[in-house]
């Protein structure tokens, strides 16, 4: 039994956590604002621009 994550997992976890801290968390508020704006324009089925799509 070994309960530790392996090296590759730890490496990817570090990268993902950095991505979340840098890009996702700051984008959450922007997402909500853009989503509300789209909904107000009757475009509630579209992705907010912050998703980069």
């Amino acid at each position: 039994m070994d309960f530790a994550y392996d090296a590759r997992t730890e490496e990817l976890r570090g990268q993902l956590q950095a991505f979340i801290d840098e890009h996702i968390i700051p984008a959450e508020k922007v997402f909500e604002e853009q989503a509300a704006e789209l909904a107000g324009q009757g475009r509630g089925w579209e992705r907010p621009a912050v998703m980069g799509t």
Partner: protein, 340 residues
């Protein structure tokens, strides 16, 4: 990161992917930012696993590149779809084409204007063996005869920014015969293969969502003062926090064990554990969300915190990909078999 497990993707084992999916569950934006969101994940897996080279070039590649979105059309309003053998949309052969007729709902992703491809499940042979009656077929979203009736809401949420959930009517929808996935009669097996990993991915993300809720709860009760002391000093709040931590740790260990079993003995050998986490995790998460909301007071049900949406998602997962009762029934049957 996708296809996480596939040789053409990141090539991760389930045990390696689980902690990453967990992290991604903390925000509803992350799975999509990583192109690891349902239903595209499952649809890409189906195409990678069962698609022809032509199907993969036409649909898998743009999905992997994030250029288009997709939907999975299985659940039907007119039958108890938790028993997938009930799915009755007809897919009948007419020369070089298949003709599709039926009504679907909870076709997640189909409200998105960028959704270009639907994977539709239906019956090609109602007289075949129970698990060989159905097939899955690729239907371009702009095919004549497809009518999107409405977006179905989840506790009032449209989930519009994630593609929504459509009710769709198919009337004499004609697609080339080569659009069938893997062949006639394979629909049930593909559905099983698709939903297995989907269930564990949902559970992994729910652990992350629970961590987020616990963090929000701890921050809130540390900041808010009532009757002269922080809420964090109230015994009942401490009980919620301790219970939440215990439930998260227990759920995570079972999810990791399940991931390990899937890697070592395969999805079939992990059957009991996959069902166990599908039963345990959304319930644990729902309880934690509920307490986090309670600790936030009325703010917890508002749009100013992610808790209301997280709760709605956790509660919905007790139905999505098979209701709790279906998994319990099947798990109990297997347990009882040891004694019969």
């Amino acid at each position: 990161m996708f296809l996480a497990h596939h040789r053409e993707g990141a090539g991760l084992t389930n045990l390696q992917y689980a902690p990453l999916a967990e992290l991604s569950g903390g925000s509803h934006l992350t799975p999509e930012a990583l192109n690891c969101a349902a239903p595209d994940t499952g649809n890409m897996e189906v195409l990678a696993e069962f698609g022809t080279k032509e199907q993969q070039d036409r649909w898998l590649r743009p999905l992997l590149d994030g250029e288009i979105r997709s939907a999975f059309c299985m659940t039907e309003p007119d039958v108890a779809s938790s028993d997938a053998t009930n799915i009755s949309t007809s897919i009948s052969r007419d020369g070089d084409v298949y003709v599709i007729n039926g009504r679907k709902w909870w076709s997640s992703g189909a409200m998105d204007p960028r959704c270009k491809i639907l994977i539709v499940m239906g019956k090609t042979n109602p007289d075949a063996d129970r698990h060989r009656q159905q097939s899955q077929i690729l239907v371009p979203a702009d095919t004549a005869g497809i009518s999107i009736k409405r977006g179905v809401t989840v506790f009032g949420y449209t989930d519009g920014t994630h593609g929504g959930h459509a009710e769709i009517e198919f009337t004499d929808v004609r697609v080339p015969a080569r659009n069938i996935i893997s062949g006639e009669g394979e629909g049930f097996a593909i559905a099983q293969a698709r939903l297995g990993p989907g269930r564990i991915h949902h559970c992994m993300r729910q652990i992350g969502a629970s961590e987020r809720a616990l963090e929000l709860m701890c921050r809130r009760v540390t900041d808010r003062v009532a009757w002269g002391k922080p809420l964090a000093e109230q015994g009942v709040i401490q009980d919620w926090i301790a219970e939440a931590r215990v439930r998260i740790e227990a759920a995570r260990l079972l999810v990791l064990k399940t991931a390990w079993l899937m890697d070592t003995v395969g999805n079939k050998g992990a059957h009991t554990e996959i069902q166990a986490i599908k039963i345990l995790v959304p319930q644990a998460t729902e309880w934690i969300m509920d307490k986090a909301i309670q600790a936030h007071g009325a703010g917890g049900v508002s749009q100013d915190f992610p808790l209301a949406a997280l709760w709605a998602h956790a509660r919905t997962l007790r139905l999505a990909d098979g209701p709790d009762e279906v998994h319990k029934r099947s798990l109990a049957h297997r347990e009882l078999k040891k004694y019969s």
